[in-house]
């Protein structure tokens, strides 16, 4: 059984596999990294770095994109 850690993803608590990278997190959510911007504990993680940053317990992660607006 994989060990999990609790994080806050887009404002909701969620358990994810320990040691997961941000890129793997996006892949597990079926999200295209080119279409999403990742904010990790209030800091933007640029696309090339997504595979290098690992999720830790208590992390706050925001996944945003462009939607319709005026």
């Amino acid at each position: 059984m994989t060990e999990t850690v609790d994080i806050v993803l887009n404002g909701e608590p969620r358990a994810v596999a320990r040691g997961l990278t941000l890129l793997e997190l996006l892949q597990s959510l079926d999200l295209d990294p080119r279409a999403v911007v990742v904010e990790h504990n209030r800091a933007i993680v640029r696309r090339p770095a997504l595979g290098a940053v690992r999720v830790a317990r208590g992390d706050a992660i925001e996944l945003v994109h462009f939607v319709g607006g005026g």
Partner: protein, 265 residues
């Protein structure tokens, strides 16, 4: 067919060092469906199209961001900071938008009242100052107050965007004098943002001499958004042409258009 604006030899419409074909900018919110939105934007002739930054909805199977519908090679995507009530929030959204987007332009909104969605000019100036230093081309949504508009220009904003009337109200241009004054006094482009309800509002707004208009609800909430987008395109062009042509003076009394001579006894 030669367009009216070409006929009166307009100057190019440039913001932040970029030149655009259309003086009409449109939003992408509140359309009943994406197909209507795409067709309306096409009919509007707009090149600058605004978008918002929001959380990805993780509950859906397939994510459908706006970029699945709008080709970023065809349109200039202008991200906004709509929904932000502090300078700090607006800066955060602007940074996310720059990362998501294709340019360093941002339509800066810092809202100070939930009911009227009027700008918090203090927070706006604070955010604008910081974002300009961060290298953003800031288009600042503001009210029709000259002093705030001047301060936004002094802060380095690429354009100042006074409102015609509150966002989504469709009340039209409530203070033409205020908007005209801002245009007369500022060197940066003045683009009226928000409040236009129908084509006559857009035409009247452009007749004040402003550089452009941004609208969203006027199209999205029209009975036929595509037909209204066409009407707005014509209205913006007509208003611009009329401004450049220079209207006749207003008179309090009539003046006959037909000769007084040659009348029968």
């Amino acid at each position: 067919m030669i367009s009216a604006v070409e006929l009166v030899r307009d100057v190019p419409f440039a913001i932040g060092g970029r030149t655009f074909h259309s003086r009409l900018m449109v939003g992408t919110g509140k359309y009943r469906d994406n197909e209507t939105m795409v067709r309306a934007i096409e009919a509007s002739g707009a090149e600058i199209v605004t978008v918002a930054v929001r959380r990805v909805n993780l509950d859906r199977r397939r994510q459908e961001g706006i970029l699945y519908h709008l080709d970023p090679k065809k349109y200039f995507l202008l991200a906004n900071t709509a929904g932000c009530y502090t300078a700090e929030d607006a800066i955060r959204y602007a940074l996310l938008a720059r990362e998501a987007g294709f340019n360093e332009f941002v339509k800066l909104e810092v809202i100070g009242d939930q009911e009227m969605l009027l700008p918090d000019v203090q927070g706006l100036l604070e955010a604008a100052t910081i974002l300009v230093k961060e290298g953003f081309k800031v288009l600042a949504y503001t009210n029709e107050d000259l002093v705030t508009a001047r301060r936004l220009e002094d802060a380095g904003c690429a354009a100042v965007m006074p409102l015609a009337s509150p966002i989504g109200s469709g009340l039209g241009l409530l203070n033409p004098y205020g908007v005209r004054t801002i245009k007369r006094r500022l060197k940066v482009p003045v683009v009226v943002d928000a409040g236009v309800g129908t084509a006559s509002d857009a035409c009247l707004t452009m007749e004040q001499g402003v550089d452009g208009i941004l609208m969203n609800t006027a199209l999205a909430a029209a009975q036929d958004p595509v037909a209204m987008a066409h009407a707005m395109r014509l209205a913006v062009e007509a208003g611009r042409a009329a401004y450049l042509a220079g209207r006749m003076p207003r008179r309090e009394v009539a003046m006959p258009s037909s000769p007084l001579e040659g009348m029968l006894d």
